[in-house]
Symmetry: C2
Subunit: 439 residues, 2 copies
């Protein structure tokens, strides 16, 4: 059996949030695995990050024992460490049935749930119950937006403001994003802007949102000429990931999210990439344990990067592997034609191709990237209608352009290593674009 061990564990008495003043939070922040380990015992791995509740008068709990039956539904917690803007990510099955988790992060008397036409029939009632059960002080309103990336714009955003004002949401209110990445980005940005900033909570219901977009505070909307051009860095009070919501996720959406999971492996976590290569069948079969692990490990990677570089002055940009090419596909091909993760997958192949042309990575890595993306049923090339010119014109307004120079995230060195740089041979970029476009 593979072993796992903590590199840092913490026993802390939390005073940050109301209603948990009599609980200890026990968690570790980082789990390391021997390079060769295979995915065989996720339940055992979960132990290190399981949140155990013990009374404040209890003696120091023993961390080496496996979790008892009564703690089996307790959430795994990954902390995003950002000083006074730190927050927990709760991960687990059935978390929407645990009202305490959400309610401890709602401080005012009014809540606005922002969701879409697909998710509302599935989880809106459940979310409202989680916010109100045993808490009659809170009034919950909701706004249901049309579903899809093509609605991630100013017009749709205004519907959130309209509803917030009509229902008299005040400065102490909380916005709750219930849905995928589009809902999270729009609700988060609405929260950042409404009355110059109100609290918000992320309840991501897609793999994409659970492993990436709900964590780290990037919020915003698209402009017809560029993706995510208007927005804010704005952190939530907490992220609540109920892995049961994946049961209703279409296969295509699930695969889209895997593109970001694969990204973490490629840019900074070789062990995780190797784990994915072995366990992709389990993920595609929606094995709950495999998913719980993939989500946790992805969130840990994201939290670590965001904690070090919240506003993307450098390191954080590496999370955008494949995204510059991918955003060009989404913008040029039309928002919503391809899912975000599909565009990122094709973009990752292009970034990897360019890295190889520059002589920065081995041929074997190119092949492994192709293989895992194909296995995940993700595209490995852009849509046929994309031209070199379309790529160039969208990439020219990419957020990573500085003083006219386009900086890219490229792999360099062994698996798990990348660079964020504007210092590359322009010829390699041209060759990559020509290799993937018919004109």
């Amino acid at each position: 059996m593979a072993s796992s061990f903590c590199t840092k564990s913490a026993l802390s008495f939390s005073t940050k949030h109301e209603n948990i003043s009599t609980s200890f939070l026990i968690r570790d922040f980082r789990v390391r695995f021997p390079k060769s380990r295979s995915f065989s015992s996720p339940a055992r791995l979960e132990l290190n990050a399981t949140k155990l509740r013990v009374s404040a008068s209890s003696a120091t709990p023993v961390m080496d024992q496996p979790p008892s039956e009564t703690t089996s539904t307790a959430p795994t917690i990954v902390e995003v460490d950002l000083g006074n803007r730190s927050y927990p990510i709760y991960i687990g099955s059935g978390l929407l049935n645990q009202p305490d988790l959400l309610q401890r992060h709602v401080h005012g008397k009014k809540v606005l749930v922002v969701t879409n036409t697909t998710i509302a029939p599935l989880y809106l009632d459940k979310t409202i119950r989680a916010l109100t059960d045993g808490n009659s002080n809170v009034t919950v309103e909701s706004v249901i937006l049309p579903d899809g990336e093509k609605y991630k714009n100013m017009e749709t955003l205004m519907k959130v403001f309209d509803k917030a004002i009509e229902t008299r949401m005040d400065r102490r209110c909380t916005f709750v994003a219930l849905g995928g990445g589009v809902i999270g980005d729009m609700c988060g940005y609405a929260a950042a802007a409404y009355l110059r900033g109100v609290n918000f909570i992320q309840i991501p219901t897609t793999v994409m949102a659970q492993v990436d977009s709900s964590v780290g505070g990037k919020t915003g909307i698209n402009h017809p000429l560029g993706k995510n051009m208007i927005g804010a860095f704005y952190q939530p009070q907490c992220v609540l990931i109920d892995t049961d919501t994946l049961n209703t996720l279409p296969d295509r959406e699930l695969a889209s999210g895997l593109a970001e999971v694969i990204k973490y492996g490629l840019i900074r976590d070789a062990d995780f990439f190797e784990w994915q290569e072995k366990n992709l069948p389990a993920l595609l079969a929606r094995d709950p344990s495999a998913f719980a692990y993939a989500i946790k490990r992805s969130c840990e990677n994201k939290a670590e990067v965001v904690s070090q570089d919240e506003k993307e002055s450098g390191l954080r940009a590496t999370l955008n592997l494949g995204h510059t090419f991918g955003h060009a596909i989404e913008t040029g091909f039309g928002y919503g034609q391809w899912l975000h993760g599909e565009a990122v997958a094709a973009g990752t192949v292009m970034a990897v191709d360019m890295s190889y042309r520059l002589g920065w990575i081995e041929d074997s890595l190119v092949k492994r990237v192709h293989r895992i993306l194909k296995q995940a049923k993700l595209p490995t090339a852009p849509p046929e209608t994309m031209t070199v010119e379309m790529f160039k014109s969208v990439m020219a307004v990419d957020k990573k352009v500085a003083d006219g120079l386009l900086r890219l995230i490229l792999l360099k060195g062994p698996l798990g290593s990348c660079v964020f740089t504007g210092d590359y041979d322009r010829k390699a970029l041209d060759e990559t674009l020509r290799a993937f476009c018919k004109s």
Copy 2:
């Protein structure tokens, strides 16, 4: 001759901005005046805050000597102290003729000037020259918006984003707000949101913007149902106040700005209010020295409050004396019908009336407020078409409502004292509304 004295002076070697690494900045942060002093010698007063340049190798400069001829156009500097987001407010005549002042705050190669149809013919060329003279590295673009509060909305804001993307403004670009409060609020919010935040500079050209709205980082736009409902706290790199721009300001706009000057006296600076009572004729006659002093003293008051409470958790709200009633007038009566300061003046009279009804201030103070506002040619009552219901419906969505309770800024105690509170007799509010509305 009246005397003035420093309570704190600072000699600091600035390393924050490029291009001034060989200069010392010498300034004081607070000037106090004997209670009874009249405005008679502004040139003398300026001395304390004059910025003197001395070489880095110089000995400690002597502060007691009057400024020499060569420093007569040097700006007065008021510092807004916000840790790593601190910035200077430059105040003086002819500052747009000193390219160095602006250029030291522009770090990238692209600048977008946001202005309006009124200000562009007057000061856009001058501003572009100030940004580019001796600095061929910088490209300046501009976007000219329609003039007026009724255009402070999402539709106009989108024009700024359109232009920014079309002209390929990148993350290192700088937005420059050239105009009054509406331009400053919109440009600032555009800068906060564009690519999740780019640098910006305020060049306010109205009294309103120079004494209040350009300082402190409140940015935003109106919603049809409420003023400034969408926005961000976002600080500029600097505020450059060229007092010569007031030469082209219409009388009505000038008076509007005085409403905010008077506000500072009422809420926290009794000496300043008394100075205003004596010097209002000089201000109305546009005496440059009187204005330089009024602007500086207003900025000092604003900077002090903002430094203590940037995000308006308490103290900063006191700067909104008269604004809750005033915003109701602006929203209910129609954006742009009355100037902001006109609405604030009427709102101030209403807040003062209510404070008196609560027994919190003397009758004599009510009379003094009426007298100074009338002298400044500002309204002392809301428009006749405003009803009690109109006030109540707009005030219900005011940003200062918390958990259903409307908090107000009211005067309490001697001149210069106020409170921000939800703890008042609702009857007094009703009586005030009925006293000022026909129905």
